[in-house]
């Protein structure tokens, strides 16, 4: 019987088949750590007198708590500082490679792994962070785990797991100009719902997906978790191989040939059967934004704020009502009329170099809407350096945006970059939950293009809404 991509990767990692309803024991090729979900795992190891089984398959970076300005100063918040210092102490004690604040390979864990070439097709990748699904863009089986699982992987380099169900998401056609990977995934989540992917690995395929760059594919896989899925995957192809070639941890020489041969066998068999299939026409998509407080509450930018009455499902109706109250939105308002206070460009969803380039292309030669705060936060120190080499930082600062150091920043209310109560943002991050960007903050999830156009007009907008830049500017 044919197997899907996810099933092939799974089968290649079974250390021991579970019998009788028992989970399989799966080998883990790459374990990523950060300061928030690891302290208790190391504490557990210490208490039990255990060591890290494979320090050579483990790597750590500091991201969630780190400030994005004045990074040479001690972290002001004592609790954040304690978490970061605890990670440093644990990595030293257990012999784990760590990229600290200030280091060129520091950054958001899901930006750093691919950038180093550590994320490769066919691997199993885990991290104590739900957006580990990002790495599935390479054809890796990558998923978030909880802290006790982090401890389990540290101690054994394996995880007991039950096979996931498989769902194919086929996006046919070519995306229209101005419609990006972010819009595709927001549309997918709006279609299948925040619970629609539960128990599944989503495999994205079809013409629109094949045409995407690696970074765009990462944006899609990143947000699979927002549909409730365990992981998202895309079969590796020439785009994947070209991205990996020459990266620090990618194989080289004879090893490269062996690796490519192996990676090329990963694509799902044509006769493989998925548990569920969803098909979208990519050519009909347009920029997508969220109006509510979960990532499934989104609509095309040309739409209007819905009314709770538009929903037939009673729990969706209640959820919409609550969301509208929290978001302080009136049903029927065109989404394009919603004015924001802050624009955030960054996160593991959209904090890579292509995202910054896309935003800079919109902002170049234009002026910031009055009273708007714009934060541009690269996903890693390397992305920051590259952006500066390309002069993007100049575009951002000339526009009036704040050009920050790498980290999770305003993606979550955990470091100093936060919304204040009632403040409204257009954000390229992945979660619009109540208070996610700071207590009382209101979040609209958008693509980098929409974020940039919104920074120009002050209301949710796409680049198509902008007047042409006068010649010579």
């Amino acid at each position: 019987m044919g197997r899907t991509l996810a099933e092939k990767v799974w089968d290649a990692h079974v250390v021991r088949r579970g019998d009788d309803g028992e989970p399989d024991l799966l080998y883990i090729d790459l374990h990523l750590l950060h300061e928030v979900t690891s302290p208790q795992a190391f504490e557990g190891l210490r208490v039990a007198g255990r060591r890290v089984r494979r320090t050579d398959l483990t790597i750590a970076t500091e991201d969630h708590n780190v400030p994005t300005v004045d990074i040479d100063q001690p972290i002001a918040d004592p609790v954040s500082r304690l978490q970061v210092e605890t990670l440093r102490r644990n990595c030293e004690e257990f012999g784990v490679r760590l990229h600290r604040l200030g280091d060129i390979d520091q950054g958001i864990v899901h930006v750093v792994g691919p950038q180093l070439g550590l994320t490769q097709p066919g691997l199993t990748v885990v991290c104590g962070d739900s957006h580990t699904s990002t790495h599935g863009a390479f054809g890796a089986l990558a998923f978030g785990i909880g802290t006790s699982e982090v401890e389990h992987v540290l101690a054994t380099q394996t995880l007991p797991l039950k096979p996931f169900k498989t769902m194919a998401i086929t996006v046919n056609g070519a995306l229209p100009e101005g419609t990006t990977a972010k819009d595709v995934i927001l549309a997918v989540i709006a279609r299948i719902g925040t619970g629609g992917g539960q128990g599944y690995v989503l495999e994205y395929r079809g013409e629109a997906i094949r045409a995407l760059s690696m970074e765009a594919r990462m944006t899609i896989c990143n947000m699979s978790i927002e549909a409730g899925a365990r992981a998202g995957m895309i079969a590796p192809d020439e785009t994947t191989f070209a991205y990996l070639a020459g990266r620090p941890h990618a194989p080289s020489g004879k090893d490269w040939d062996a690796a490519v041969a192996s990676w090329s066998r990963l694509a799902g068999d044509p006769e493989a059967v998925f548990d569920t299939e969803v098909v979208l026409d990519g050519s009909e998509l347009e920029p997508f934004v969220t109006w509510g407080t979960n990532p499934g509450q989104g609509l095309p930018l040309s739409g209007k704020v819905p009314s709770p009455e538009d929903f037939t499902d009673p729990s969706e109706k209640i959820s919409a009502q609550r969301a509208l109250e929290y978001m302080d939105l009136v049903p029927g308002t065109p989404l394009r009329r919603i004015a924001v206070d802050t624009v955030f460009i960054g996160s593991c969803t959209n904090g890579r170099i292509e995202d910054l380039r896309a935003a800079a292309d919109v902002l170049r030669g234009r002026t910031k809407a009055e009273g708007i705060r714009v934060l541009v936060v690269p996903g890693s120190a390397k992305v920051r350096r590259q952006a500066e080499e390309e002069g993007l930082d100049q575009v951002f600062t000339r526009f009036g945006a704040e050009w920050r150091q790498a980290g999770c920043s305003m993606c979550l209310g955990m470091n100093p970059d936060q919304l204040s109560a009632g403040e409204r943002s257009a954000s390229t991050s992945n979660r619009n939950f109540e208070g996610r960007q700071g207590p009382g903050g209101r979040t609209h999830l958008v693509s980098p293009l929409v974020a940039a156009a919104t920074a120009v007009r002050g209301t949710l907008s796409s680049p198509a809404d902008l007047a042409a830049v006068p010649a010579g500017r």
Binding site: L25, Y27, D56, T86
Partner: protein, 198 residues
Amino acid sequence: MEKFIAHTGVGVPLRRSNVDTDQIIPAVYLKRVTRTGFEDGLFAAWRNQPDFVLNADAYRSGSVLVAGPDFGTGSSREHAVWALKDYGFRVVLSSRFADIFRGNSGKQGLLTGVVDQADVERLWKVLEDAPGTSVTVDLRERTVTGGGLSVPFEVDDYTRWRLLEGLDDIGLTLQHVDAIAQFEQQRPGWLPTTLPVP
């Protein structure tokens, strides 16, 4: 891990669906490096509202949470489970749970039972009509009883066995350490390692 066979305690009706882990414990509480003391973060935003269910005296000592569908969605933070446990909850019942949350719960000895939404509604009614009602959650029988009701819940056999035996994961896996070593022997040499490259 403590064995879970049956538990009796006050049932708390939480009439909300899609309770994500940011609501269960907001990010600001995740900064600790210990494994205990997370009870103050539980539903922190809601507990500031006087009419929130846990602020009523009758429910304050609750240990069986009865929630709407899609409980525990969002971030994989295990702190959500610790917060519920540290507060005193031993059981959460809902018609649907997020997978990661459910997995995390089973490992920490917090029982997540799947109950039909119709039964959730009946439980809510009983618990609201008589605040402070105790219910008994019997893992052997897979039933919730109390206030004149008795409804079944689902939990998969493996998680149930682990909870009944109070078994810890790592210990279980290390019984197969030879198989792990054998697997490592046959991994291709070109697979990446995190050792610094020159």
